[in-house]
C-alpha cells in the first residue's frame, strides 16, 4: 500500500473519447498526470456503432494521454453508459438458523447471494452490485454486522445491469488496442466518486451528468446509492433540434447552442435575433430568433430533467438535502442551473473535484468529470481489494481475464 499506483480512466462518450492518467500516491491523494481527448466518431447515444472508427479515436486519445503523462498505458478503467443499462435495488433476506444467534461471515455471504439473485433478462449481465447497507432485524447498520446478535439479516444492494454483448463489445474495442480493462464502471457512479463527498452523500445528493448522447444520473441518500440510470438524450439532441428547426448545418447549430443558447427561461435573455455570419463556404447570412432558439433548448432540457425526476424512486426527491450536482458537457449551458432549480426546487451545484492535484484547468471542466471519477473509483476499488474482504463488495462480472 505504500507505493504510488497509476490508474487510467477511459470514457468513450458520444462526443468525445477521453483518457486520463492519474497517480494515486501512498497517502491516498490523487494527482492527474495527463489527459488525452479525441473527438469521437462512431458513437451514438453512448453506444458504439462503428468499431473501426472508434478504435482510431481511442488510439488517438491514448497517444495523447501517453504523451502528456509519460506513462505507457497498459490497462484502463472503462466507463460505460447507454439506455440498456438498468439499475434496481434489491434486498437479500436471510433468516439465521434457530441455533445460531450471532451473525457470521457466511451468513452475510448467503444473504448476498440471495440479493444477487434477481430476475434479470438473460442477455443482461451485472455491472455493479453495490451494498447499500445491512439491516439486522430491521435495524440499519452501515458497517459489517459480523458478530452482532440478530434473527434476520437483510443486505440491501443496488444492482446495475446492462446488456452483456454491448458491454463486451466496448471491452473488445479497448482490448484490440493492446490495453487491458481493469474494470467496467457505469458512468454516473464513476462521476459521483469525484463529484460527491461523503457529507454530501450523507445528506442526499443527486448527480446529473448531461453528456453528448446520454444523460446519466445517480442519486445518493443517507450515504449510499439509491438510484442510477441513463436517459438516451443529451447535448447532441439539442443540436439536432436546433438543426431541424432552423435548417442550419450541425456544426453551425452546435456553435449556436454553445455560444448563444440559454435555458433559463428568463424572458429578457430571449430578446432579439442572432446573426450567423457569412462564411467562405457559401452560406448566406441567416438569423435566428433568440426566443425560438432558447425555447428549443429549454424544451429539450426540461424533458430530460423531467424524465430523470420521474425515474427517481417516489418520495426520494424530498430527501435530497444537499442538492443537485450538474456535470457533463451540456451542463455548461447557460441558465441550466435556473432551469434545474425550477424543476427540482433544490440547490444546484456544479460538480467539482476538490481533492485532486495536477493540471487544474482540465478538471474544472465538467466534461472530464466522469473520466476523473474513474481514477477515484479505481483508487477505492484498490483499497477494497487490499482489505480483500470477500464478503464485501462482491464484484462478479464475467469479463475478467484472470
Amino acid at each position: 500500500m505504500a507505493r504510488a499506483k497509476i490508474h487510467v480512466g477511459l470514457e468513450i462518450g458520444t462526443s468525445k473519447v477521453c483518457m486520463v492518467v492519474g497517480e494515486v500516491k501512498s497517502d491516498g491523494s490523487v494527482k492527474i498526470l495527463g489527459l488525452g481527448t479525441s473527438k469521437a466518431a462512431g458513437v451514438r447515444k453512448g453506444e458504439i456503432c462503428d468499431y473501426s472508427k472508434i478504435r482510431e479515436c481511442v488510439d488517438d486519445a491514448r497517444m495523447k494521454a501517453e504523451e502528456a503523462s509519460d506513462v505507457e498505458i497498459g490497462s484502463v478503467f472503462l466507463s460505460v453508459s447507454g439506455a440498456h443499462i438498468q439499475s434496481i435495488n434489491n434486498v437479500g433476506t436471510y433468516r439465521l438458523p434457530d441455533n445460531e444467534k450471532q451473525i457470521q461471515p457466511e451468513h452475510i455471504a448467503e444473504a448476498n447471494d440471495i440479493a444477487k439473485d434477481i430476475n434479470i433478462s438473460p442477455e443482461h449481465v451485472y455491472l455493479h452490485n453495490i451494498l447499500r447497507n445491512y439491516r439486522v432485524d430491521g435495524f440499519a447498520h452501515s458497517s459489517s454486522p459480523v458478530g452482532l446478535f440478530g434473527k434476520t439479516l437483510e443486505n440491501d444492494f443496488h444492482v446495475v445491469t446492462g446488456i452483456g454483448t454491448r458491454i463486451q463489445n466496448s471491452i473488445k474495442c479497448v482490448r484490440e488496442l493492446q490495453m487491458d480493462v481493469d474494470d467496467v464502471v457505469f458512468a454516473p457512479i464513476a462521476t459521483a466518486q469525484l463529484a460527491l463527498n461523503r457529507a454530501e452523500r450523507e445528506r442526499g445528493a443527486l448527480l446529473i451528468d448531461i453528456g453528448g448522447g446520454t444523460t446519466d444520473y445517480a442519486l445518493y441518500l443517507n450515504g449510499c446509492i439509491a438510484a442510477s440510470g441513463c436517459i438516451p438524450a443529451g447535448g447532441e439532441h439539442i443540436t439536432n433540434d436546433i438543426h431541424m428547426l432552423t435548417g442550419l448545418s450541425f456544426s453551425k447549430a452546435e456553435g449556436l447552442k454553445i455560444k448563444e443558447g440559454d435555458a433559463s427561461g428568463d424572458q429578457s435573455r430571449s430578446v432579439g435575433t442572432i446573426k450567423i455570419p457569412v462564411d467562405e463556404k457559401g452560406f448566406s447570412q441567416q438569423e435566428v430568433k433568440r426566443e425560438v432558439l432558447n425555447e428549443v433548448i429549454r424544451q429539450r432540457l426540461i424533458e430530460i430533467l423531467t424524465l430523470v425526476r420521474k425515474r427517481l424512486p417516489p418520495g426520494s426527491e424530498q430527501l435530497i438535502g444537499t442538492g443537485i450536482f450538474l456535470s457533463g458537457g451540456s451542463s455548461l449551458m447557460r441558465g441550466l442551473d435556473t432551469l434545474t432549480h425550477q424543476i427540482f426546487q433544490r440547490a444546484i451545484y456544479r460538480a467539482e473535484a476538490a481533492e485532486i492535484s495536477g493540471v487544474q484547468a482540465n478538471f474544472k471542466d465538467p466534461q472530464y468529470a466522469t473520466t476523473l471519477g474513474l481514477i477515484r473509483y479505481a483508487q477505492l476499488a484498490d483499497l477494497e481489494k487490499q482489505n480483500s474482504a470477500p464478503k464485501g463488495l462482491g464484484r462478479f462480472w464475467p469479463f475478467r481475464r484472470s
Binding site: P232, L245, K275, P277, V278, S284, E287, V292, Q299, K310
Partner: protein, 524 residues
C-alpha cells in the same frame, strides 16, 4: 486685380434647414436632437396634443386642430390627423416657406403622425424643400391595426418624400441590452435618429475638401420608393478609422453591412478634425469596399471640421429598391420548406414594408384616370423625380427632357387622353412645351400640381382599391400556410429526427426522444 473669395461650395446655410417633429413620437425625437445640440437649425414642433406640445423644447411650435380637437390629441385616428393638418395648413406653409431642406421626424402608427405626415410632406414639397423623412414603425405588440395605419402612411411617404429613413421599433432591442430600462431603449432609438439627422445636416452644410452635397445625396437615394440604408459612426483615438466604420456598420438599418451588398450607389462621407490623414481615409475605404459591390457607384466626400478635434466620423447613405428586398424575401420563402418560425433571412425584417405600392397607386390612379393605366411610368416616375426641385429652374430642364422621352408616347400621340381627362390647360401647355424649353419649368410645376391633386385624392381611392387588391393576396397566404402545415405534418410522421434518422427509435416512456420535444408536443 481679380478678387478671389473662397467659394463656400454651394453649401446651404443652416438657416435654410428646418427640423420638424410631428406628433408625440416626433416631438420626442426633436427634443433629443435639440438636447444633442444642433446649432443653427430651426426646430418646429407640430402636435395636436397641447400638453406634449408645450413640453417641447423646440423654438417654434404650431398647434394642430385648434378648432377640431381643441388641444386634445387625435386619439390614434389618422383621418382626424389628416384633418387637423389640413386645418393648420396655412400656418405650416408659412413656417416652411423658403427652406431648402426639411427633416420630418415622425412616429407612424398613431393619429397625428400617420395622418399628418403625408400632408405635411406634400406641403413642404410644394414649398420647394428637399424633404427627408425619418419615420419609426410601431412595435409588433402595438397591434395589427396600428401597424397597418403606419404602413399606409409609410407607403404614401415613400412616394411623396425625397428620402425616407425608416426605423423599425421592433429592431430596437438590438440597440440596447435586454435588461436595460424601457426609457433607455426609447432614448437609444431617439439618439440614433438624432445622429442620422445630424450626419445628414453635417453632410449638406459643411464645406468639404471633397465635397458631397444635395446632388450626391439625391443620387444616392435616387431609386424611387426605396428603403434608405443609413449608418453613421464616430470614433476617436488609435485605430479610429476602422472603429468608426464598425460603428457605422453596426447600425440596425445596415444589418452589419450585409444590406450594402445590393446597393447600386453608396454615399460615403468622412469628417474629421485637422489631423485627418489620407492614409486613414484610404484604410477606411479599403475596408468598406468589402461590403460594397464592385460595380456600385461610390460617392465619396471628406470634410474637415475643427470641432471634431481628434475624432472621426463616417456616414454611409444608400438606398435599396424595395423590389430587391421583396424578391429576396420570396426567394427565402421558396427555399425554406421545413418548419421555420424562428428562422429568417436577414432581409425579412423589412417584410411588412414592401407592399406593392407601385401597383396600388397605379390602381388608384386607374380609377381616377383610366386611360393612363397603359403607361404606369407616367404615374410612378414624375411624381417623385420631376417634383424633386421645382424651383431650381436651371437644373430641371435637362431632367425634364429625360423623362419627357417616356411619356411622349402617351402625350404626343395626338389623342392626349391624359390631358382630356384631368385638367385641360396645364397639360395642353405641357404638350406644347416639349418644343419650347423656356416654359418647361412652368409646365412642370403645373403638371406637378395636377398630379398632386390626384395624389391628394389617393388616400380615399387607395382605401377603396386596397381591399380588392389585397383579397387575392390573403387567399394566397392562407393557401401557403395551409400547404406548409400539411408539409409539417408529413414531417412529423416520417423523418423528423434529423441526424438520428437512420437509427432505431429511441423510445422512453412511449416517446421517441430523437424527435424534438417541440414537434412531439405540437403533435399531441
Amino acid at each position: 486685380m481679380i478678387e478671389f473669395t473662397k467659394d463656400p461650395q454651394n453649401t446651404i446655410p443652416s438657416s435654410l434647414v428646418k427640423i420638424i417633429g410631428l406628433g408625440g413620437a416626433g416631438a420626442n425625437m426633436l427634443d433629443r436632437v435639440a438636447l444633442d445640440g444642433m446649432e443653427g437649425a430651426e426646430m418646429l414642433a407640430l402636435n395636436a396634443d397641447i400638453r406634449t406640445l408645450s413640453g417641447s423644447v423646440a423654438s417654434e411650435r404650431i398647434q394642430l386642430g385648434r378648432n377640431l380637437t381643441k388641444g386634445l390629441g387625435t386619439g390614434g385616428d389618422p383621418d382626424l390627423g389628416q384633418k387637423v393638418m389640413m386645418e393648420a395648413e396655412k400656418e405650416v406653409r408659412s413656417a416652411i416657406k423658403g427652406r431648402k431642406i426639411v427633416f420630418l421626424c415622425v412616429g407612424l402608427g398613431g393619429g397625428t403622425g400617420s395622418g399628418g405626415a403625408p400632408i405635411l410632406t406634400r406641403i413642404a414639397r410644394e414649398e420647394g424643400a428637399f424633404v427627408v423623412v425619418f419615420a419609426t414603425m410601431p412595435f409588433g405588440f402595438e397591434g395589427h391595426r396600428r401597424r397597418e395605419q403606419a404602413e399606409t402612411a409609410l407607403n404614401e411617404l415613400a412616394v411623396l418624400s425625397n428620402a425616407l429613413v425608416v426605423f423599425d421599433n421592433n429592431r430596437m432591442g438590438e440597440l440596447v441590452l435586454a435588461k436595460q430600462g424601457i426609457h433607455e431603449a426609447f432614448s437609444a432609438g431617439d439618439r440614433m435618429i438624432s445622429d442620422s439627422i445630424k450626419a445628414v445636416i453635417r453632410l449638406v452644410i459643411r464645406p468639404g475638401l471633397i465635397h458631397v452635397g444635395l446632388d450626391e445625396l439625391m443620387t444616392a437615394l435616387r431609386t424611387t420608393r426605396s428603403r434608405c440604408l443609413f449608418g453613421s459612426g464616430m470614433a476617436s483615438g488609435k485605430d479610429r478609422a476602422s472603429k468608426a466604420l464598425t460603428n457605422a456598420l453596426s447600425s440596425p438599418l445596415l444589418d452589419k453591412g450585409a444590406l450594402l451588398k445590393e446597393a447600386s450607389s453608396v454615399l460615403v462621407h468622412i469628417c474629421g478634425g485637422d489631423d485627418l490623414t489620407l492614409y486613414e481615409i484610404e484604410l477606411l475605404m479599403q475596408k468598406l469596399m468589402k461590403y460594397v459591390p464592385a460595380k456600385a457607384h461610390v460617392l465619396f466626400g471628406a470634410a474637415i471640421d475643427t470641432n471634431m478635434k481628434d475624432s472621426l466620423s463616417i456616414t454611409l447613405i444608400s438606398a435599396l429598391p424595395e423590389e430587391k428586398l421583396r424578391s429576396s424575401n420570396e426567394d427565402a420563402e421558396r427555399i425554406v420548406l421545413a418548419p421555420t418560425e424562428g428562422f429568417e433571412f436577414d432581409v425579412s425584417e423589412e417584410q411588412p414594408e414592401p407592399e406593392p405600392i407601385a401597383q396600388k397607386i397605379d390602381f388608384a390612379l386607374t380609377d381616377a384616370i383610366p386611360t393612363v393605366a397603359t403607361a404606369p411610368v407616367v404615374t410612378a416616375a414624375p411624381v417623385t423625380e420631376a417634383v424633386e426641385e421645382p424651383d431650381a429652374t436651371a437644373a430641371p430642364i435637362a431632367q425634364i427632357d429625360d423623362w419627357l422621352d417616356l411619356p411622349s408616347t402617351v402625350f404626343a400621340g395626338g389623342e392626349r387622353p391624359f390631358a382630356e381627362h384631368v385638367q385641360d390647360d396645364p397639360i395642353a401647355d405641357f404638350a406644347h412645351a416639349t418644343t419650347t424649353p423656356a416654359s418647361v419649368a412652368d409646365a412642370a410645376r403645373d403638371l406637378q400640381e395636377a398630379l398632386q391633386a390626384s395624389i391628394a385624392h389617393e388616400p380615399d381611392e387607395l382605401s377603396e382599391a386596397e381591399p380588392e387588391h389585397k383579397t387575392p393576396d390573403l387567399g394566397d397566404l392562407l393557401e401557403k400556410t395551409r400547404t406548409r402545415l400539411s408539409q409539417q405534418e408529413s414531417l412529423f410522421d416520417g423523418d423528423a429526427r434529423g441526424k438520428f434518422a437512420d437509427t432505431e427509435p429511441n423510445l422512453v416512456d412511449g416517446d421517441d426522444l430523437d424527435i424534438p420535444p417541440f414537434l412531439r408536443k405540437k403533435k399531441k
